[in-house]
Amino acid sequence: MVDTNASSDVISLRDVTKKYSNETVLQNVDLNVQSGECIVLVGHNGAGKTSLLKLMLGLTKPSSGVVEVLGKNPAFSAAVAQGLSLGYLPESVAFYEAMTGREVLSFYAQLKGSNSAECEKLLELVGLGDAAKRRVGTYSKGMRQRLGLAQAMLGNPQLLFLDEPTTGLDPILRQHFYELIDGLQKQGATSIISSHALSEVEARASRFVILKAGVVVACGTLDELYQQATLPIRMKISVSPGEASAVAQRFGSDVNISDINNKSFNLSCLVDEKMPLIRHISSLGDVVHDMQIMPPRLDELYSHFMNGDPS
């Protein structure tokens, strides 16, 4: 069982570096994950997301630094896993092709000490109830992914590692998938998810870890990341027809104005300039019809950290 003491770290990485022969895939990574958190690992392909997951799972050992899961070295993953249920969904999950979906799941269930009733329940839950009699070799990508999810959910895991979990799933299944994860989350499960699809995980993540070429470039809640990034806020101002350029001239030179057309234009400013600007706009009177404020989007935040691009 996961330690219920909220202050204790479920996973703790201290100054972890991982090298494969000459190539450094992770460099000086520090990360503490508390019980019940949902950490989302973000980064390009090859940024080190999977390497980080493998280290936590004890599939690989760090070249230097310390990796601890529940206070133990995960190299003894078995010992750790004896005490708690752990679920892992690898990126592009592979199964024994000659076995049927049901056989695969019950094989894994036996290894985890779960029963066959749970297998049936999970097969229904991921929508594989009808396909359970078929060989896994005949499954589509999405069906394999669902079977992968089912095996990860065996034994009510307290610790979930999901590597790109929604690749190959259609939008409805994605939604369904996240509902399943939410269910486990509510029961207090700690999860580590690596993902490309930021908008999907935005609402679920308690913290983001942004990886770039093996280095953690940013780590924190969404708000913290926005503060760090100092991305511009955009506004769209609608004015009386024909007045756009006249109104636009009434802003100072420090305000960035673009896309002027007949009855609207765009503004952009930094967070701390926002309120003075709004007050200025409202002082302009009836000529301003409408104003839309667009905070920076998540993908802008992402590309900011990935490219080091401030705009």
């Binding site: 599939l59 993953s77 690898p90 592979a94 076995m99």
Partner: protein
């Protein structure tokens, strides 16, 4: 223990499903029937020969066949799972790495057991019941089946070692064939060649015996040809083995060593392996 069973039974089920076990039973059974019929041909009569004669011919064939079957079972066991990616997932389950190896080993041993005892045993039982053959030497026959299983275990273990050392299945397949050639064909060929050239000057009886003994296939051969009086007289090997100080427990020990050492080496490499 239940973990090991789960892993072992998965292998057995795979063996049943891909008709592997069926094919091996048919192959071994046909051979046993053919050899028991042919065994007495030199004596001028076509009848089912006594079991101790069959032991001689069957064990000389098993020495080639059983290692091949065992290697075919095992060469893919680890490298295949690495290559397909199933090993990574398996190792995140609550099991130790040694359990993966031992579980698979148990499973493959069961497959081989079924193949040998149904193939060899069933065929002879059928011949005896239908055509009425001599049951003389049934102990030797059972020992032959048991030692065939042990010989199979040796090559399953060697197959695993190949399977953990290489990175690709194709390489594993090639190495397995090389292993088979080396152990089953080349070793004896070279040994006898050297003996012929040497003419007993450097390699004396003692060294020769030891060189024979350390090969698992030769151990198997000698074991079966010398274990029972009836068999060893018929094979003309009576006394030779005992003269060289080889008794069956030494030979069994050698073969056991050939099971344990490759398995331990496989385990060692597997423990160190980064997935």
């Amino acid at each position: 223990m239940s973990l090991l069973w789960t892993l072992a039974l998965k292998e057995v089920r795979d063996g049943l499903r891909n008709r592997w076990i069926a094919a091996a039973i048919i192959l071994l059974g046909t051979l046993a029937v053919a050899l028991s019929l042919l065994g007495s041909a030199p004596t001028g009569s076509v009848r089912v020969s006594d079991l101790d004669i069959t032991v001689i011919s069957l064990s000389s064939l098993s020495v080639y066949l059983i290692p091949l079957i065992a290697l075919m079972l095992s060469f893919d066991a680890l490298v295949g799972e690495f290559e397909r990616g199933t090993m990574m997932l398996l190792l995140t389950y609550p099991l130790e790495r040694w359990q993966v190896i031992i579980g698979k080993f148990l499973g493959h041993l069961i497959i081989l057991f079924i193949a040998i005892f149904t193939g060899y045993g069933g065929a002879i039982l059928l011949m005896t019941l239908l055509m009425g053959g001599g049951t003389e030497g049934w102990q030797a026959y059972i020992m032959m089946m048991a030692s065939s299983l042990l010989l199979g275990a040796v090559f399953i273990a060697l197959g695993y070692l190949v399977s953990i050392l290489v990175r690709e299945r194709a390489t594993a397949a090639g190495s397995a064939i090389g292993l088979w050639l080396g152990f089953v064909v080349l070793y004896d060929l070279i040994l006898f060649g050297v003996l012929l050239v040497d003419e007993g000057q450097i390699i004396g009886q003692k060294l020769f015996s030891i060189l024979m003994l350390i090969s698992p296939t030769d151990s198997y051969r000698i074991l079966n040809l010398s274990m029972f009086e009836g068999v060893s007289q018929a094979a003309g090997i009576a006394g030779i083995a005992s003269e060289a100080g080889m008794n069956s427990s030494v030979m069994l020990g050698v073969m056991l060593l050939w099971v344990v050492v490759p398995l331990m080496m496989t385990l060692y490499v597997f423990q160190k392996r980064e997935i």
